[in-house]
């Protein structure tokens, strides 16, 4: 998925990154500063729209939304709902990695198993999973279990695909080279195939994180008794814009942080790559 890799194309050489010897005039014009202006401009536009143009029933200005965050978090059950959702995310992520890794290793280990089962897995991955959400809710109830399962079904496929792909795209010269130096089968696996697989695997983890987020949150919004879905439902039923926007922004921020962490880990483990 080359598109998602674009996220990595951060620009390390902006004047800001080079340290403090940069004059202020230049700093103020740096892309990083300009990004802040863009965000500020969007917030101001939003504020103006919400205050003067749109019916307050349908929108809330950011000043109110952010000012209300403390009260929102103080509401009984909100912090618990956030923790529950975080727990669902963590459980789904871990399970997706474990299940994906096991299936990926099994499928990728021989040429035959790869040819026989990989297309089937790709086909399953292509199924719009939201169609089975009602079944999962019927089967596992509206508690955390259905969200975890739905997160896992979204998250495990990227792990499988990344594992199989990275098992199979080792350049033959590395295998030949290890063989010529007398490496045993185990040594070839341990010192050649395994380190080669690491970056691809972590790319899979990053995609798995996006998948798990979508799966768990979709499940939450569809039907929830105690998670954040319960609150989004309640706030939108009451046209409580301030709280609805508040909780949505909190979860969005958590999602961004999670993605950023996985991205960092991925970069760390692929630092030897170009």
């Amino acid at each position: 998925m080359p598109i998602q890799n674009i996220a990595s194309a951060a620009i390390p050489n902006t004047p800001l990154a080079r340290g403090h010897a940069v004059p202020w005039s230049e700093r103020l014009r740096s892309p990083a500063a300009a990004r802040l202006y863009v965000i500020a401009a969007l917030l101001i536009l939003w504020e103006i729209f919400a205050r003067f143009i749109v019916d307050p029933l349908f929108s809330a200005p950011p000043s109110q939304v952010f000012g209300n965050m403390g009260a929102l978090l103080a509401r009984p059950g909100v912090v618990e709902a956030l923790m529950l959702t975080l727990g669902e995310l963590a459980a789904a992520f871990v399970l997706a990695i474990l299940i994906g890794l096991v299936i990926g290793l099994a499928v990728g280990s021989t040429r035959f198993s790869k040819r026989a089962f990989f297309p089937v897995l790709m086909m399953l991955y292509g199924i719009p999973q939201v169609t089975i959400l009602p079944i999962l809710i019927l089967t596992f109830g509206i508690g955390p279990m259905s969200k975890i399962v739905f997160g896992v079904t979204h998250g495990m496929f990227p792990v499988i695909i990344a594992t199989v792909a990275s098992m199979n795209n080792l350049k033959p010269i590395f295998r030949t080279s290890a063989w010529a130096m007398g490496a045993s089968r185990w040594q070839t696996f341990r010192y050649v195939l395994l380190p080669h697989m690491v970056p691809g695997f972590f790319t899979g983890l990053r995609l798995a994180m996006s998948g798990v987020l979508i799966g768990v949150l979709l499940g939450e919004l569809y039907a929830s008794s105690k998670g954040i879905g319960h609150f989004t439902q309640m706030f939108s039923d009451n046209f409580d814009q301030v709280n609805l926007l508040g909780i949505v922004l909190i979860v969005a921020a958590i999602a961004m942080v999670f993605n950023a962490i996985v991205r960092r880990v991925e970069l760390y483990f692929s630092r030897w790559r170009a």
Partner: protein, 261 residues
């Protein structure tokens, strides 16, 4: 070599057939006497009977038309806005440096969170699905447009300039073909995401459409109908993927790009 690969293919085919039979057998066994509750998993015969009914009465046409309309609208908006904006941004390194990281990090936000807001603003009708589909599909398209148009090899541009290309010639004879594969894969991803998000939003909150049909059948405790609609959606998704793959291959061949490059 050719003989062994034929054998290989046969073996693979055989595995698939065996898997399918196993699944069908397990499904029948599970739904037999003393098996899984019928509300969770109806017998295969019941599902296929319902599927035949839906297909013969044409009951699926109306929800399909709604879903199709929403997808087309959402994708058209995402594609036109995404491509135009991406192209404009790509023309300046500074703009790329400002907007690309911003858009890339927004792409990591699960847009589904904002669906309740969409419903509040645009109602339960198709408009909320179109806006939501747009908000999901827009990001991969604009990011692909930026990366495709911004990373055209400078050698191509220089060569064209040295031969005296006009601005328009530069655009449609150099930039577009050079950026084509990346942009096309972004559009493909956008199309898939449009379909998924429209379906998802129909399941979450809607009055019509295929996603709603599935949700409705599950609420009505009519699992056979639910499974029949799931099968219909899966077939549509498979056809969509297949045709997008064909379109991408044709497009890439048109500009002389071979697979895997």
């Amino acid at each position: 070599m050719s003989r062994s690969s034929l054998l290989d293919k046969l073996l693979v085919l055989l595995t698939w057939v065996v898997c399918l039979l196993l699944i069908y057998w397990a499904w029948r066994e599970a739904t037999g006497e003393g098996g899984v509750s019928i509300t969770l998993l109806p017998a295969p015969d019941a599902v296929f009977k319902e599927l035949g009914h839906i297909l013969s009465t044409g009951a699926f046409i109306e929800p399909w038309e709604v879903t199709f309309y929403e997808c087309v609208m959402a994708f058209s908006w995402a594609a036109s806005v995404g491509l135009a904006l991406g192209y404009v941004i790509s023309r300046s390194t500074y703009l790329v440096q400002v907007f690309e990281p911003l858009l890339a990090s927004l792409f990591t936000v699960p847009m589904v969170l904002f669906f309740p807001l969409c419903v509040l603003y645009f109602g339960l009708g198709p408009n909320s699905k179109i806006v939501f589909g747009f908000s999901v599909a827009f990001f991969p398209i604009v990011l692909a447009a930026i990366s495709g148009f911004a990373s055209v090899e400078s050698g191509f541009v220089q060569a064209a300039r040295s031969m005296g290309a006009t601005r328009w010639q530069m655009f449609h004879l150099v930039l577009v073909p050079a950026a084509f594969p990346v942009v096309l894969s972004g559009l493909r991803m956008g199309a898939v995401l449009t379909f998924l998000s429209v379906l998802g939003s129909e399941t979450l909150g809607s009055l019509e459409g295929l996603g709603h049909a599935i949700h409705n059948a599950s609420m009505d405790m009519n699992p056979a109908e639910m499974y029949a609609y799931i099968i219909i959606v899966i077939v549509i998704a498979a056809l969509l993927n297949l045709s997008l793959g064909v379109i991408e291959a044709i497009g890439n061949r048109r500009y002389g790009v071979t697979e895997g490059e």
